[in-house]
Symmetry: C2
Subunit: 345 residues, 2 copies
DNA sequence: TTGAAAGCGCTACCAT
DNA sequence: ATGGTAGCGCTTTCAA
């Protein structure tokens, strides 16, 4: 057993960052008291005079609590890990991410984005699990799969929430039903009397998770109509490719076009116009995502707008799930779409 | 002193995630040995048979090391914290971020993005410092200032690297000299005989950190020439604002325009054309950042392209700095610009 | 009202 | 070749 002096440990090396022990020493109290004061634990159990001394000492030393040590002791890190592949960390995502960060912070969580690991499945799950987050939210991330979920659960990460075109087995799901997008676009084109509909699918493989369902939705839309056919058009986001595509497109007799998003639509419109086609007279074009570029081009793009569940609601959902880690997987629909009719279709 | 049995602690609650102690128990060895084996410490000091048993046990239990505990013990978290305000987490940034993540991972670090905290200066510094990262890289983040750096250093975060238009005192700096951009644009417009140059500055306050230096560079370019003047044009990224701006622009007698970036340039070109001006005949336009939209417009946009230091080099730099935490602040230039001449100027 | 001490999971030093 | 054990910084129970 130690005797005496324990409340006054020797000062630490000069350059070392101050710990709660240092604060205690300077304030002339125990580490326990420091903890009580700085965390406002147990209302008035510490006298106001002492509280003031402790806070002064902390300020004077520039003390910053050590979240790692706190997490170890508490058994929970307070971290919500967001995972997202490179492509997703894009413009649409930027503000949503900032909002989510904010909303989670208000609920006492720390949102942290962990970019592409280079691994997939169980291996990716292990990388995430090492940090022992309270929850993992994977955004459109196809490296999150059933194995990854299993690893996470086994490592004590109680909440795994997948957000993407397809739900991940075993995890909670925010489903963004991308099929709606294609369906709605085709509905509009068909109603305008178009019969041979091209659907532009991006060559970028990392977008297939979105592109395939949008195509599938378009095909579903075509089947619901008589005499409407859908032709898949693979296209890279590149002017040369677009020029070649426009030629081939004319031969296919396409009179209506649904592009993966407004960027691809813009590229296609340009190429069609350069090849002598008129938009929308010869080919009607519908884009998606309501990007700025669609309003700057002439003709202005008709597009399928996406309304996702607001970040604040997602934060509340996460907060609730973290509170009940063993609840059975829930599925929430987070996508509503609407057509923005402009000039191109 | 404990006696006996210490190598065989009692099993833990069934649902609890396995610890190295559990692995040790299953493999019939001590926790120390588990640590040696799983971290490949000290070459052959553990027999191959034992190593195999340990690895089997770990696999069977689904053991994932606890990075938090490891960090506490090691005194370093292995984390490189990236901070960025909402606007920056944009398209240009996406791939750079993914690359950096990758490059840092290869060097044994974990890159983690910590979005806008809602706080600034010392308070923001405290939020970051809590996580005890080995380094903080702030990207175009104006909430990182001298006070934040001081807090971080005091909390033992040895490496603070700022990347933005202006260096942060006390921290290492990656300077992206945005003035070059404006200078180069004005040089081109003046050489083409334009004399009254508008410079479009975005109304979005969060972009001012870039916009002001670009404007300053343009002014510097004008001073270097006779009879060339620069007129600041504030503009919001909005069609209505652009229409009003185009009218006022005609009155000002502007015959050359440098826009903050290609998006603003596109908006301006559109508005000018709609108001009856010809581009480039009446007004020559130069954009910046070489965005896709610049190639889709007619006329195609002349733009100032940016070449940043590749992520791999930034990762190597960070790695070196983490190895020598007390080195004096270094400054590195990471921006090269080049003019891409197309049709608009 | 305050303090002592245990212990979160891990690694590294020193024994054996 | 392997094991005991101290201790990273913190919170929290129990004791005073």
């Amino acid at each position: 057993m130690m005797t005496g002096m324990a409340a006054t440990p020797s000062p630490r090396a000069a350059g070392a960052p101050p710990t709660s022990g240092d604060v205690a020493r300077v304030a002339g109290v125990s580490r326990a008291t420091v903890s009580y004061v700085l965390n406002n634990t147990e209302g008035g159990r510490v006298s106001e005079a002492t509280r003031e001394r402790v806070r002064d000492a902390a300020r004077q030393l520039g003390y910053v609590p050590h979240a790692v040590a706190r997490a170890l002791r508490a058994g929970r890190s307070g971290i919500v890990l967001l995972t997202a592949p490179a492509v997703t960390v894009g413009p649409l995502f930027a503000h949503a991410y900032a909002d989510l960060q904010q909303a989670l912070a208000e609920l006492g969580h720390t949102a942290v984005l962990y970019g592409p690991t280079g691994a997939r499945g169980a291996e990716a799950g292990r990388r995430w699990a090492e940090l022992r987050p309270d929850a993992v939210l994977s955004l459109m991330d196809d490296s999150m799969d059933e194995d990854a979920v299993a690893v996470l659960h086994k490592a004590g990460v109680g909440v795994v929430l997948g957000c993407g075109p397809v739900p991940v087995p075993g995890a909670h799901a925010l489903v963004a039903d991308q099929e709606q997008v294609g369906f709605r676009a085709v509905e509009h084109l068909a109603a305008a009397g178009r019969r041979t509909l091209g659907v532009i699918v991006p060559a970028d493989a990392s977008l297939l998770g979105f592109a395939e369902p949008r195509l599938a939705g378009a095909e579903k839309g075509a089947r619901a109509r008589d005499a409407v056919t859908v032709v898949r058009q693979d296209l890279a986001l590149d002017e040369g490719a677009a020029t070649r595509w426009a030629r081939q497109c004319a031969e296919a007799g396409i009179d209506g076009l649904f592009a993966y998003n407004d960027e691809y639509a813009a590229l296609a419109v340009r190429a069609l116009q350069d090849s002598g086609k008129r938009v929308p007279e010869d080919v009607a074009v519908v884009g998606a995502d309501d990007l700025l570029i669609g309003r700057l081009l002439r003709p202005r793009l008709t597009t399928v707008r996406m309304d996702y569940m607001p970040s604040r609601e997602i934060a509340r959902l996460l907060n609730r799930l973290i509170g009940t880690p063993d609840a059975p997987p829930e599925t929430h629909d987070i996508l509503r779409t609407g057509l923005v009719v402009r000039e191109s279709a």
